[in-house]
Symmetry: C2
Subunit: 317 residues, 2 copies
């Protein structure tokens, strides 16, 4: 018997494009990546050419069962025209349609990158075996994706799971979305870096003062860096308590660069969650680290095709 053809999985982020072949057990091979170079706003076709080159290199003439894409939001869904915040070159870029032209006769499916991460963690990661799951990415932004009763919750516009815009401080800082006091405004990497700098933190001379440097400093014992990560964790815990009350969840899997802080993030997150989630059905929800790391988006994108019955809604093709 011939093995099933692999899925081509693509992860489109603000700093890199990644692609890989993923088998029907979630195994990743031939993973390649290139910088996404968000240079000029007129360079949409140039970036598309770069992506095509990456894809051709990964596929290398093999047959694929389909194409799954996780892409920075926002996007029109399920049409799949994308306007990633961090890729100004693409505004309403018809990414799904372009890929459908390139891969005729097989499914091509696209979700935002946080939903792809959540799917990946549900399929083969920290939330495997659970049916009611929130996946959260704490990075430059704070994104999320929901699995309810074992199926992805997309919502009518494909935007369900925007946990980063749960309000954690009604009078808090203005958010990139235009709102105020969103989890993302308080807890995203650049916000906690800003907070740390304002409180006297200095990145070591080799490093940019970014989220990665902040997490490293926190792990190395810098008190201000630790307080900044703790602040992120507390806001996260409050938002997760609201989510658990609203949705009756089994588990939350937290990934993204800031999650590399480990217990420095998870302990305050769990403490804030425990303070606010007191009813049994809410307090039972576990908050755990994501386990697939940078592969979560790739694995989740592949699952859109490999396990389309669970992760892609009927009628969205």
């Amino acid at each position: 018997m011939t093995p099933a053809a692999p899925v081509l999985a693509v992860d489109v982020g603000g700093t890199k494009l990644a692609a890989a072949l993923v088998d029907d057990a979630g195994g990743v091979r031939r993973r390649h990546e290139v910088r996404s170079q968000p240079t000029s706003t007129g360079a949409g076709d140039e970036l598309w050419s770069t992506l095509l080159g990456l894809i051709d290199e990964v596929v290398d003439g093999q047959r694929v069962a389909g194409v799954g894409v996780g892409c920075g939001g926002p996007a029109r869904w399920p049409e799949g025209s994308v306007s990633p915040l961090n890729i100004p070159a693409w505004r309403d870029f018809p990414l799904r349609a372009r890929l459908q032209e390139r891969f005729r006769g097989v499914p091509v499916r696209l979700v935002n990158d946080a939903i792809a991460m959540a799917i990946g963690e549900h399929w083969e990661g920290a939330a495997a075996g659970d049916r009611n799951v929130l996946g959260v990415v704490v990075s430059t932004g704070v994104g999320g994706g929901l699995i309810l009763d074992g199926r992805v919750r997309f919502g009518p516009t494909g935007n369900a799971g925007h946990v980063g815009h749960i309000v954690v401080e009604a009078d808090g800082p203005v958010c990139g979305c235009g709102g105020r006091g969103c989890l993302e405004a308080v807890a995203r990497g650049p916000a906690i870096v800003r907070w740390a700098l304002d409180h006297g933190w200095e990145a070591s001379s080799d490093d940019e003062p970014d989220g990665r440097a902040l997490v490293t400093a926190a792990r190395d014992g810098d008190e201000v860096a630790r307080a900044a990560v703790c602040r992120c964790g507390e806001a996260l815990g409050v938002a997760l308590a609201s989510t658990a009350h609203l949705l009756d969840l089994d588990v939350v899997a937290v990934g993204g660069g800031i999650a590399n802080a480990g217990d420095l993030l998870f302990e305050p997150a769990r403490a804030a969650f425990a303070r606010h989630a007191r009813m049994d059905f809410a307090s039972r929800c576990r908050i755990v680290p994501a386990t697939l790391g940078p592969d979560a988006g790739i694995v989740g994108a592949a699952a859109l095709v490999a396990c389309g019955d669970r992760y892609w809604p009927i009628g969205a093709d």
Copy 2:
């Protein structure tokens, strides 16, 4: 052709028990109610007898297609043993099992009263025709129920929809649940009555200083009463913005005694919502008054049987 038998619908609340026959178009007839008299904690069987008497009066020997119940929470679900906060006489009272003994051979289904309200408003009320709905009851507590993609979201323990325990002020007042700053702690009737009394409001000499009196005073122009209702609306709007971001909703239908304040509640709720829900997919969500009034719970309970494919999950019988 004989018309389909009606459903017996029961609404168990802290102050009254109501029952009615409901036809398959949501028409309510033979509605009766009695006080639920939450007297002693040992009077569980007495209350059960009262309920049976009410039911016999309503059914009057007719055949029914099944029994639907909305009951104050919490409850074990789907087993249907109930411990309504405001009915100390019932703790783990096996209400669903007792009704199954009384009505053999037809489905007997039970949900919490806020979920019943949401179902009622979705079936025949303010949210008819929408597929992604939150129903909210603002009364002695703040409860809710979710319809996602046209189906009830129960969650694994039947507790999804607890919008009253979304955190709106992380350092806010202690809530009855043991948490802090929940919407319910800020916005429930007794909390805004307390706030109004603390700010100089006095109920007229004929009235208990309760939510009903506060709403009447607000409608009559009392400034402190209006400010109290406004405070409730603002907290509600913040919680609904979080909900819309997380779930990608079409509409929120708000009922319960405090919603009788009309625009005095809805205007500040919509203003707070607009301040916090800025992305298109969230801001499109409408916030509307529930339309079924005190019948919503009865109609929703009936729908558990009359439209079980939409409102009752496979496997929960």
